[in-house]
């Protein structure tokens, strides 16, 4: 976008200047007003306010004190916050690879069956996605119940003794990973199905003529053709999983011994427990910097080919 004499003059937002001002200003701003006002009050102002407060030791009840970057250094050096981040990464490793693999397998299966069965499968795998985290937590907590719970009855059949699934430091995080996988699988599967159906049929026909088996077709056609979708699911799946906090909030409250305190739950518990805020806001901002940047980047990369007109 040069400013040489030869190029047509452009306004600040990059659109060519017209002889007359844009015609629709009045109606456009009237129609945009509700969204702009709501976003300003409930998203933009809170964001700016959060950035501002992160430099203060702030409390609902007392005067705040400017502390510069101390909240950020405190968060970065806090062993508990670091442990929560590590736990978050561990949680991602427990959920995301399994979700990607399962949804890929289910999607391959669904695209190979008849239409009716395919629809039944798609509806079924999507239903867990619409169930709330609270109801999911309540239901899985019932399954994990120590005495008289379903899971202990099942493992009892193969001679394993009763376990306190969500009460045991070693088992609690995996026990929360299971409902997280269950809830997140539907959306991933349906996105993969759509992507698989977009692969031109002729590719497979050619492969079939060459005598390629399912494994070869998957490895040399399906996966390379789906690489953008897989990348997208990997990144959005990572961002979603590391932010999970409602399941541990309801099922364990973060315990036992912080073993299920995922990063967002760590921050949330500080919001609720601390008199002085600032620290938790700084921690939340740090998370935002990383995750927001990741999602914005992926959105830009993947959309650069197609959307924004």
């Amino acid at each position: 976008m040069s400013t040489t004499v030869t190029s047509p003059p452009r306004s600040a937002d990059g659109t060519p200047l017209r002889a007359h001002p844009p015609r629709d200003d009045r109606i456009a701003f009237l129609m945009l007003a509700p969204v702009l006002i709501l976003l300003s009050i409930f998203v933009i102002v809170p964001t700016i306010y959060a950035i501002y407060l992160s430099f203060f030791n702030w409390s609902f009840y007392q005067d705040s004190e400017f502390v510069g970057l101390r909240n950020f250094t405190n968060a970065l050096t806090d062993p508990e916050f670091r442990a929560a981040i590590r736990r978050g990464v561990l949680f991602v490793l427990m959920t995301l690879p399994i979700q990607l693999l399962l949804s890929f397998l289910i999607a391959s299966f669904v695209t190979g069956v008849g239409k009716r069965l395919g629809t039944a499968l798609k509806i079924s795998v999507y239903i867990p996605t619409i169930i709330s985290a609270v109801i999911t937590s309540i239901t899985f907590a019932l399954i994990y119940e120590y005495s008289g719970g379903l899971l202990n009855a099942v493992v009892g059949l193969v001679g394993i003794e009763d376990q306190a699934w969500i009460g045991d430091v070693r088992l609690a995080l995996p026990a929360i990973a299971v409902p997280a996988i269950w809830m997140g699988l539907g959306l991933m599967t349906l996105i993969m199905i759509a992507a698989m159906l977009d692969v031109p049929e002729s590719f497979y026909e050619a492969a079939e003529l060459e005598g390629a088996n399912w494994w070869q077709r998957t490895l040399y056609i399906t996966i390379p053709q789906m690489k953008n979708v897989l990348l997208y699911l990997l990144i959005t799946g990572f961002v979603a999983a590391i932010q999970q906090y409602e399941l541990p909030l309801v099922m364990t409250g973060g315990g036992p011994l912080d073993s299920t305190t995922l990063p967002n739950l760590f921050i949330f518990n500080h919001f609720r427990g601390d008199t002085y805020q600032g620290y938790s806001i700084a921690a939340a901002l740090l998370l935002f910097l990383v995750l927001g940047a990741i999602s914005a980047l992926i959105f830009r990369v993947l959309s650069s080919e197609k959307l924004v007109d």
Partner: protein, 298 residues
């Protein structure tokens, strides 16, 4: 969320290609067919079992639900838990108030987001690109980052313990603006040009031409909004203390911690609270499934 609209032939996306030749029924083919059915049953079972288990537990007695030795089905299927909780005015009120809030939230979300989507798709105004960037940027701000400061804002606006604090903050959503705008960009301009010759204004064109064509994106945005509201837990817990306005997830979580011996009844209540969204999804499943694609990608 990751929904984007496929302009035409979106049903083709859902239906797997049915190019199958009839072949003779050999034992291997019969076996393959049986394996296929078995795998399908396994997938459907794994997806739906926890919900079935929740509903079954609702039919058990207080003792049966956690009895040792373990008991899969109730000895007698009793409706008692379902009946008792439906007789509890607090539970019925929470369903009603959450439902009312969800409907208002959905209508508001459809209105404001489609207005903005139309403006960005079709109108010509100052600062269009800059405003677009601002709106889209809000999509990347995680809820946790602004949870506390949003709470401070609504406290200062004296919105605590009102229906407004549940409805207003989430109504405008960049994802929805983005999604509806993508759909509008694919509507042929020739349609409006005819209307413009007839002397219709820009707003009239939106109401008379775009809204009637908007069923596909409105179904997706509408259902998503309804679900977001119905399933919300943390925000209601932070902003609602009056039992009159208790939201359904908040009610269930409170029930769980305060009446831990009534597990069977909690399961009945959870089943009843999950039922409306499942029914809603089943009604609109075709449109929803057809529209699930990766944002902005083909």
């Amino acid at each position: 969320m990751t929904l984007t609209h496929e302009p035409s032939g979106s049903t083709a996306v859902t239906s797997p290609p049915v190019v199958r030749r009839r072949r003779a029924l050999t034992p291997t083919r019969v076996l393959a067919g049986m394996v296929r059915v078995a795998v399908a049953v396994l997938i459907i079972g794994a997806a739906l079992f926890p919900l079935a288990w929740m509903a079954i537990a609702g039919f058990k007695s207080k003792q049966e639900v956690v009895r040792t030795p373990f008991q899969f089905f109730p000895e007698v299927w009793r409706l008692e838990n379902y009946r008792t909780i439906l007789d509890d005015p607090a539970f019925v009120r929470t369903l009603a108030i959450t439902g009312l809030g969800a409907v208002l939230f959905t209508l508001l979300s459809l209105t404001v987001n489609s207005f903005a989507a139309y403006a960005f798709a079709r109108l010509d105004f100052h600062f269009k690109r800059a405003l677009w960037v601002v709106v889209i940027s809000t999509m990347f701000i995680p809820g946790m980052t602004i949870l506390l400061t949003s709470f401070i804002v609504v406290t200062k606006l004296h919105m605590l313990d009102t229906l407004a604090v549940l409805i207003l903050p989430g109504a405008a959503a960049a994802v929805h603006v983005f999604f509806i705008r993508q759909f509008y960009l694919n509507i042929p301009r020739s349609l409006e040009e005819a209307a413009m010759i007839d002397g219709c204004g820009k707003f009239e064109i939106f109401v008379k031409l775009f809204v009637p064509l908007s069923k596909p994106p409105f179904v997706v945005v509408g259902i998503t909004s309804f679900l977001v509201f119905w399933n919300a837990y943390v925000w209601p817990v932070m902003t609602i203390t009056s039992p009159d306005l208790y939201q359904v997830q908040q009610y269930l979580a409170t029930f769980r911690s305060e009446r831990s011996s009534e597990l069977a009844m909690l399961m009945a209540g959870s089943t009843l609270a999950a039922a409306p969204v499942i029914v809603l999804f089943l009604i609109f499943q075709r449109q929803i499934i057809a529209n699930i694609k990766m944002a902005g990608l083909k």
